[in-house]
Subunit: 183 residues, 2 copies
DNA sequence: TTCTTTTCCTAACATAGGTTAACGGTACTT
DNA sequence: AAGTACCGTTAACCTATGTTAGGAAAAGAA
């Protein structure tokens, strides 16, 4: 069984954690994503910007989460996404060299990595399924249940963007929900 | 470098390929997904059914594709999805025991598997991003470009279901597109 | 062939969600 | 304290998509 603290300690033995002020970009479209970020403190988001200039949040990463553009990192393609800190944060920036070396010294980490990949797939598949089958209101309720902790830390417009809604629409959803509860 | 033929041959040395008539269910909600299917011939779909009874296609798998509920297979959860043949098909049904054994004899396969997982993530992430940022028409055009081969093999209602549309809406999208082309 | 089922299209209507614009509140700046 | 930027709400209106219903063509079954 692998403990994440082993990774953190191995990293901190050689490097110091990266301090990131809020609103700082850690990755932009066109760049290669050459680090997997592990969030020690703070909150990071992973998002795209479409041709009309609208932002779409694919993922939030609070403490204890990994955040990376796996396509860019693994296939060595330039990224189409942004990674940005939403709060003052503290992250480990794991590059390929470090990860390879760490795998060699910690063979349990290989299996742990496998779990991370499968979690990622589970999460994404669940999102696709929700986007295909649930209404805005249902998606919002699910989000609140799954990430109650995130709701209070990011502006509502970003939650709307995660849910595939205009901010005004999320406002409407919330109003309808509070009316229902009053009854 | 790993060649898929090695996997196929190893499987066929011990088992014969599974012949599947069209419209046969290979997995249903509530069951454990204990096989990864590799499609030799035919066409398979992976879909869910929501509370209103509407189907939502998450993936099509023609020849040369793998299809599996990774969450169910890896985490040993019961599945929420269906896997169904759309055409008379021929598949390899790879169970965990076979895959484990095969990994031991073919160490390159471990890396190949890693590629498969990352491809899966890339594919799903791209879908989430498209569902968040593109119109029905744009999603349809992308689908045609990406899977021209599938378009002609499945009923339009299933493509609509993959795109997150009602069949009638896809019909409308197609009519608008053909009008545009005429001009 | 004839009958049946499936598939696709169309049109009229209904609705969820997007758009625009305005307002009030809060928090940060100066 | 005044000024400014950001945020969430609301309302009126608009548009894309869903819904219902019907019908015609194509594909399969008897």
């Amino acid at each position: 069984m692998f403990e994440i603290t082993a990774l953190i300690e191995a990293y901190l033995a050689k490097n110091s954690a990266r301090q990131v002020p809020a609103k700082k970009l850690l990755l932009s479209p066109g760049e290669y994503c050459d680090h997997t970020f592990y969030v020690l403190k703070g909150l990071i988001r992973y998002f795209s910007v479409d041709t009309k200039g609208n932002e779409h949040v694919l993922q939030f990463a609070p403490e204890g989460w990994f955040i990376v553009d796996r396509e860019s990192m693994f296939f060595k393609n330039t990224s189409n996404f942004f990674i940005e800190s939403l709060e003052d944060s503290e992250v480990l920036a794991l590059n390929e060299e470090f990860l390879k070396g760490f795998c060699q010294n910690h063979t349990e980490f290989v299996e742990f990595n496998n779990i991370l990949l499968h979690n990622h797939i589970r999460h994404l598949q669940n999102r696709v399924n929700e986007l295909l089958s649930l209404s805005a209101e249902e998606r919002y309720l699910n989000f609140m249940k799954l990430y109650p902790n995130i709701i209070s830390r990011v502006p509502q417009s970003m939650i709307a963007s995660y849910l595939g809604l205009a901010p005004e629409s999320l406002s409407r959803v919330r109003r309808n929900l509070s009316r229902k509860k009053l009854k």
